[in-house]
Point group: C2
């Protein structure tokens, strides 16, 4: 059900997209809109726009579409009468779950990272992370006071925003990290001023993230020095904040800093970071919102690390269709209504996820990502050798790849040019092009993409 | 398609619910779970549980179901082939909206509160409120610096969590108010320690909310004094915080404090509050997440107030099927990606909302809420006259009603007893029973409910 190539009939965005943009602009800010999509006509890896242009999609709705457009398995899950009542009646999952909820969650646990038996659904990556932080704070305070149950003094003082009820705990984030845009998430995100400026935040500590050279293994020695510098600094910050009476209750990190510009570090860096967190009695949270669900060639990107002790919490969303967190038993809150909101996710999305997971399994899509990823990365490396003045720093894990342009302007020009040659893509960080196809992206799609990228590069 | 009465075959929760609870409890905390639901068998105002018990639902999934269970209009919207691609392909709405998005939003604007031409969808009430606060902070800072565009110094200092980039702005909330459970929302919520304890928050100001006597008009004079005390205090806090260099950028208030225990104030209170906010150059945010979409007998509860100048932002979710915010043009952010997340809501929910809104219109469901609400409120008043030792403070607007029990214990016993007599309901605040039926709840349902409530009262 895939198309066989790009098809361009107008500039992208074309006249119809521009007309729709004008109309949408009377209702809300539209400065981030690229063009309008015709989802009825889109198929597989091919996104059709409002003007009938057909683009090979290596962005997949900000890395959130697992199986591309109108996948037959999703379409038939939607048509299945058995699922109708799930789509028609959205429950308040925390108080009145549907009869099949335990079974559905078991399926979510089947794809859990090693070491997890607990899961809590949420509706997006933002509430996944905010609630991961909450679970960490609850756990940390329970240990500090030696009891799972808050004291009278705590219950009373929190209503005045005072300690001990409102504790001065922190989450350690990394320079270049991104975890969402609500106040808690923004306080731990440091990818770009745009996510933080004008917003009051909690003053949480920020550790440097290693500025590594690619390929990581070629520059292993230099990178190790840089990684050690960053680990030392993270360790220092944890000590410093503990001494200040503002302990780091949790460390949050992405396996690949995504919005921050596809920044990678070695497996050893993460193994050591996990140890440092443990040593400082901080929880270790891995944010797999963008890296999770197979794109890297493993279900969870942190599986590459070879951790001795698994993370305490792993958050997910995007390609997982629903948000949520896997967590260790210690991070289960005591008492009702502590990790709660009206919906706590949506069983309708779990129906779709179930279809997605079985396609991933049957079609061996994670292996496909490894295979396709090799084609992408080798292709990028070849291109950067040939066009070193334009392309550099090819890097990736599975099909989660990126390459750099000399500067923001050239990158942005390239993204627009690629679009007009039939590739839908987007940047990240200051000068990177990020590649985030759906899991059904195959080697021949990769080759089409690389050809168009080379053509574009020649024009830069 | 409605059933004609409760039907009980076991205790609620029954053996099957208990078995499912055990199974769910191996995966996550279940202390807030009431019982498991069989959504296939549920219909209209009737919720059928895992054991086949059929309950009249006056809680509607924490006030979030607009048309009860399996409403034919929703079922047929789901079956409509035309909608299939909307359900199968969730877009990143802020960058790649579907071709019909401007038209869909126009429909959302048709039911906007008076004075609004702008709307931004979100995925839940929490992100609606967090983003309302963000829009307010952006607006406030733009005014302070005399420009919509942040300065270099701001862009740089925000990355260190320092002023001026990370401004020390605040949101004024009210004692008893509830706006969500992420860090920003929790910093402005003061309904119960449970929502705040162990959580680091921003120390935002808290004004007293009037402790009024019911019926409001009978106690108009006393209530006015109390309301003036609270307004004076709110005014003082705004001055005080401005002098401290922590200005109140926005005031957030619910038309009826819902989680806080169905606390009402007079129209005049809200009119004056709106004026005070304006006088202090603070934005006025009305949180209609629980009160919006018709239950009170108006589409938006704040329409009762007779405001001279409409609110600056109105947030919604729950019965609106999708979250979001209506906002004035001044609150439109300048620049891309400032109010943003991956999904920004979900067109699949907008399809359902469209069906809901047309049923509300065709079946005159808002008038139905006025009519049914009268039956409920008069019934509650009659019951509290007859059983003054058990029931008091009957109050409501439309079918958004509540009544008090002597204490938490009796209220909780009554909720359990009601459930076992065939009414699904829940409390709010310390000792209130909240009544939150779907919009299809009719006078004869109200009479059934009142009869069962009286029976229960006699046992207390
Ligand atoms: S915060 Fe995640 S859906 Fe609203």
């Amino acid at each position: 059900y895939d198309y066989d190539g790009p098809h361009l009939v107008t500039q992208v965005p074309g006249p119809r997209s521009k007309m729709l943009l004008e109309s949408l602009d009377t209702i809300q800010n539209t400065e981030a809109v690229q063009f309008f999509c015709d989802f009825k006509k889109s198929r597989g890896n091919w996104l059709v726009d409002a003007d009938g242009n057909r683009l090979l999609d290596v962005y997949s709705q900000i890395a959130s579409l697992p199986l591309g457009y109108n996948h037959p398995a999703i379409v038939s899950a939607l048509a299945d009468e058995n699922n109708l009542s799930t789509f028609a009646n959205r429950p308040a999952l925390g108080v009145l779950p549907p009869v099949d909820f335990p079974d559905t969650l078991q399926k979510l646990l089947l794809v859990a990272p090693p070491g997890f038996s607990q899961v809590q659904t949420m509706a997006c990556g933002t509430c996944a992370n905010e609630n991961a932080y909450k679970a960490v704070f609850f756990w940390y305070r329970a240990r500090q006071r030696g009891s799972l149950i808050p004291t009278e003094e705590e219950l009373e003082s929190c209503m005045r925003h005072e300690a001990p009820g409102s504790p001065n705990l922190t989450i350690l984030g990394f320079k270049g990290g991104f975890h969402g845009r609500t106040i808690g998430c923004a306080s731990s995100s440091h990818a770009a001023p745009l996510h933080k400026v004008d917003l009051p935040v909690l003053d949480w500590p920020i550790a440097p993230f290693p500025v590594t050279k690619y390929p990581l293994d070629v520059y292993a020695q230099e990178n190790r020095q840089e990684e050690e510098r960053c680990l030392d600094k993270a360790f220092q910050l944890m000590q410093e904040y503990k001494n200040k009476g503002r302990p780091v209750a949790g460390v949050v990190v992405e396996p690949i800093q995504s919005e921050g510009g596809d920044r990678h570090a070695s497996n050893s860096f993460f193994r050591q970071l996990r140890k440092i967190a443990k040593e400082n009695e901080s929880a270790f949270i891995v944010d797999e919102v963008q890296t999770g669900a197979g794109l890297t060639g493993k279900m969870w990107a942190h599986e590459y690390w070879g951790l001795e002790e698994s993370p305490d919490i792993v958050t997910f969303s995007k390609k997982m269709v629903i948000g949520g967190l896997y967590f260790k038993e210690d991070f289960r809150p005591k008492g009702p209504f502590r990790i709660m909101n009206t919906w706590l996710g949506d069983p309708a999305k779990l129906v779709i996820l179930e279809a997605v997971l079985s396609v991933i399994h049957q079609d061996r899509l994670i292996d496909n990502m490894t295979e396709t990823g090799q084609v992408i990365l080798q292709g990028l490396e070849k291109l950067q050798d040939k066009h070193a003045e334009v392309l550099s720093n090819a890097r990736g894990r599975g099909a989660f790849c990126a390459v750099d342009f000399p500067n923001t302007l050239t990158r942005d020009k390239a993204v627009a040019a690629l679009r007009n040659k039939g590739v839908q893509c987007a940047g990240c960080g200051a000068r990177s092009l990020r590649i985030r196809p759906a899991l059904i992206f195959q080697p021949h799609h990769a080759r089409m993409f690389l050809d168009i990228l080379e053509e574009t590069t020649l024009e830069m």
